[in-house]
């Protein structure tokens, strides 16, 4: 499935900024969140219609940033050797809403969830400590609408996860 979707982008030379795939609350139904940059809404709509043509695709929604609620998650592995500058956990927690999720003697792993900008802001803050590894997920998104997924999907005997 992934290939069927991504080739529509590559063929049109449209870059995929990020991609997140997970199963939804309905068994057997997966949700792909694909982030792309484009200045022409029409072009994006054309692409949406192409994705809809894939036989297995149940529904496609296109959202602008301001039409959706979205988040990403990032992990920072920070070196904490002896005598290094101490991490200011309080600022990390209270100002940046980031959390230490794992630690060892000489490094810690900090998790930061938020928008791309919030994550980059934290990146700049933590950088002087020495980043050993930085990894950021794609977006997860829901539309700013009162509807649930059920209202978009064709009626069927769905099996739900509890």
């Amino acid at each position: 499935m992934l290939n069927k979707i991504t080739i529509l982008f590559t063929r049109r030379r449209i870059n995929i900024e990020s991609l997140t795939v997970s199963e939804t609350e309905r068994k057997g139904v997966s949700r792909y969140t694909i982030v792309m940059k484009h200045d022409k809404r029409e072009e994006v709509e054309k692409l949406v219609r192409q994705i809809r043509k894939i036989i297995e695709v149940l529904a496609v929604f296109g959202y602008l940033d301001e039409e959706s609620v979205y988040n990403e998650i990032a992990l920072f592995k920070i070196a904490t050797p002896m005598h290094s500058k101490k991490l200011d956990i309080e600022t990390i927690n209270k100002v940046y809403k980031a959390w230490v999720v794992y630690w060892e003697l000489d490094y810690v792993v900090i998790e930061k969830a938020g928008t791309e900008e919030a994550i980059l802001e934290f990146f700049r803050y933590i950088k002087p400590h020495g980043i050993l590894e930085f990894v950021r997920s794609g977006r997860v998104t829901v539309g700013r609408t009162p509807q649930g997924l059920v209202e978009y999907l064709p009626e069927a005997e769905w099996e739900y996860y509890l």
Binding site: N3, K4, I7, E45, K46, R49, K53, I55, L58, P154
Partner: protein, 584 residues
């Protein structure tokens, strides 16, 4: 030793009994049953290792399924396309894994762009070997995904009925297209663990093509049509696919709107209909192209504004409002913005529109097209039909058209001869111009012609082929000979890759880079395959040559030696506006 043989024989006998009594079908047998359930009586194929269990099952069905053994899998694909286009049924191909499958890629790509329903069953290595680079293993799902409507790998015999029902439904419904079934050898040979319960698919959850247009769409379209001063209809392949010929005629006659056809829309409207004004596009007619700039409302039916139709799209019908009747929503606004999109089947849409449109008279507007016809006739047609010098392609097609009363089914290959066939054949019946439009696949015509003949055996099928194209699928002469199909083939031999030569002459300073061919003796080759034929080199014998070809009982090859450096006009140079169409 004797004892050993006895034991073996006893075991074999036991195995046979077991086979006879086996309660369930193999995957391959289920496949045959699926074909029967879908009313498939003709398939085109070529055997090989990974599809052998299916060929073995086929052996038990030869009384019900007519299998045509081609000479190259590309031939199977194009034959299935020809078959689908004249029969209105789904064309079916059966080939082996690896090279068998990859040889089928060109027809699959051709079928997706020309909306031809195909089900391609491709063998695959046993499922435990998948991903190991096993002998003749090719990732067919991977390689066909960009060029097919749907594909699926069957690895369990129990999947066969449901998947095949889905495959046929997807291939033929909505905008038709090719479906690829990658069938592992173990799924073919393995036994089902349940009885066969074949149920045709009539609906799918994630794929619901809209047939009946929305009311508001129809209202808006009717309003534009009713208020138009110079409305103009573009007829596409979709009209033929949906079988909307009668509905189109009724619509055209009530509204009195002039209509032109795309290349693949040819023969949807009889050429002698008073509202029919010609064909559109790069080598289309003069008036049909130029007058696109004067129409105030374009009604595009089952066509997709291919760049060979629009020329420079920024200058195409910019003054007009557009009604776009199309079954595929992705086509709406893709190339040309639609003011009134009508998503639905062409037949349903025209039926629903008919009561909403006003009876009208557009005789003055229609007559403007005729003025251009006069110029085109003087500058091009008359010259091309003047019996001077070498025989010209136009003369051959023109004469064929007369002799067959415009009622033959013409299968054209790709190049100058394809354009000349489209230009000079006076189509009277629908489904009479079978050619590779979107992909422009040289080599299409020989296999497509015998497919077309099988799809509609009552029709006279004449293939018009270039000397270059003929050599791309020449081996299919063997298939034609073996099946004895009365296909008539005309080679219009100009000893050049003529269309490319024309471009080199016009746009590359006549630098003829690799376009001249040293051709074989085509008639001798045909004879070698067991197909009769002769060469016509003089105008005086052309008429008699065509008669001889037509009268021959069985397949026939007529080679006509034509003018070497003739060019096809009118012509909209690539990238130019259609109004800048050239007459010389």
């Amino acid at each position: 030793m004797g004892n050993y043989l006895n034991i073996m024989a006893a075991q074999d006998a036991a195995a046979v009994v077991e086979l006879d009594e086996k309660p369930f079908l193999t995957g391959a047998e289920a496949m045959m049953e699926a074909l029967l359930a879908e009313e498939v009586d003709t398939i085109f194929g070529y055997p090989g290792g990974a599809i052998m269990p299916t060929y073995d099952a086929l052996y038990g069905y030869i009384d019900r399924i007519n299998h045509i053994l081609v000479r190259h899998e590309q031939g199977a694909g194009h034959a299935a396309q020809g078959y689908a286009r004249t029969s209105g049924k789904v064309g079916v191909c059966l080939v082996t894994s690896g090279p068998g499958g990859t040889n089928l890629i060109t027809p699959i790509a051709d079928a997706i762009i020309d909306c031809t329903p195909l089900v391609c069953i491709v063998g695959q290595v046993k499922s435990f070997l998948l991903g190991t680079d096993a002998f003749q293993e090719t990732d067919m799902i991977g390689v066909t995904t960009p060029v097919c409507k749907w594909n699926y790998q069957i690895t369990d015999p129990n999947e066969v009925p449901a998947i095949m029902a889905k495959a046929f439904y997807i291939a033929r419904s909505g905008k038709p297209g090719p479906v690829v079934i990658d069938f592992t050898r173990d799924a073919q040979a393995g036994l089902m663990t349940e009885g066969l319960n074949y149920q045709k698919v009539v609906e799918l959850m994630s794929y619901k093509p809209r047939l009946i247009p929305k009311d508001e769409h129809l209202q808006r379209a009717a309003e534009l049509i009713n208020n138009a001063k110079k409305p103009y209809i573009f007829v596409g392949h979709g009209v033929l696919i949906s079988g909307a010929m009668e509905e189109l005629k009724a619509f055209v006659e009530k509204t009195d709107i002039p209509c032109a056809s795309t290349l693949l829309g040819l023969s949807a409207m009889p050429i002698d209909h008073p509202n029919y004004v010609g064909w559109l596009g790069m080598h289309g007619n003069y008036g049909t192209n130029v007058l696109t700039t004067q129409a105030d409302v374009i009604i595009a039916i089952g066509m997709r504004f291919d760049d060979r139709v629009t020329g420079d799209v920024t200058k195409f019908i910019t003054q007009a409002k557009v009604v776009h009747i199309e079954i595929d929503p992705a086509e709406i606004d893709k190339v040309i913005k639609a003011d009134a999109p009508v998503v639905g089947d062409a037949k349903e849409a025209l039926k629903a529109l008919l009561p909403l449109v006003k009876t009208n008279n557009h005789a003055t507007w229609r007559n403007e097209f005729r003025k251009f016809d006069v110029i085109e006739n003087e500058k091009i047609t008359q010259r091309e039909l003047t019996p001077e010098g070498k025989i010209k392609m136009a003369e051959v097609v023109h004469m064929l058209s007369k002799k067959t009363n415009g009622e033959a089914c013409i299968v054209a290959d790709v190049g100058q001869h394809q354009m000349i066939a489209a230009r000079y054949y006076q189509f009277k019946k629908p489904h009479s111009y079978i050619a590779s439009g979107g992909l422009g696949t040289m080599g299409f015509a020989i296999p497509a012609s015998f497919g077309a003949k099988m799809g509609n055996p009552d029709r006279e099928v004449v293939a018009i082929i270039g000397d270059g194209c003929f050599q791309m699928t020449i081996q299919e002469l063997g298939t034609i000979a073996q099946s004895g199909l009365a296909v008539k083939m005309i080679i219009l031999n100009n000893n050049f890759l003529g269309m490319v030569r024309q471009w080199q002459q016009l746009f590359f300073d006549k630098r003829y880079s690799f376009v001249e061919l040293q051709n074989p003796d085509f008639v001798t080759i045909a004879k070698g395959f067991g197909i009769a034929g002769h060469t016509c080199n003089e105008r005086e014998t052309l008429s008699e040559s065509l008669d001889r070809m037509r009268a021959h009982d069985g397949p026939y090859l007529l080679e006509v030696i034509v003018e070497k450096e003739e060019n096809v006009f009118p012509m909209v140079p690539a990238g130019a506006a259609v109004a800048d169409i050239r007459l010389e």
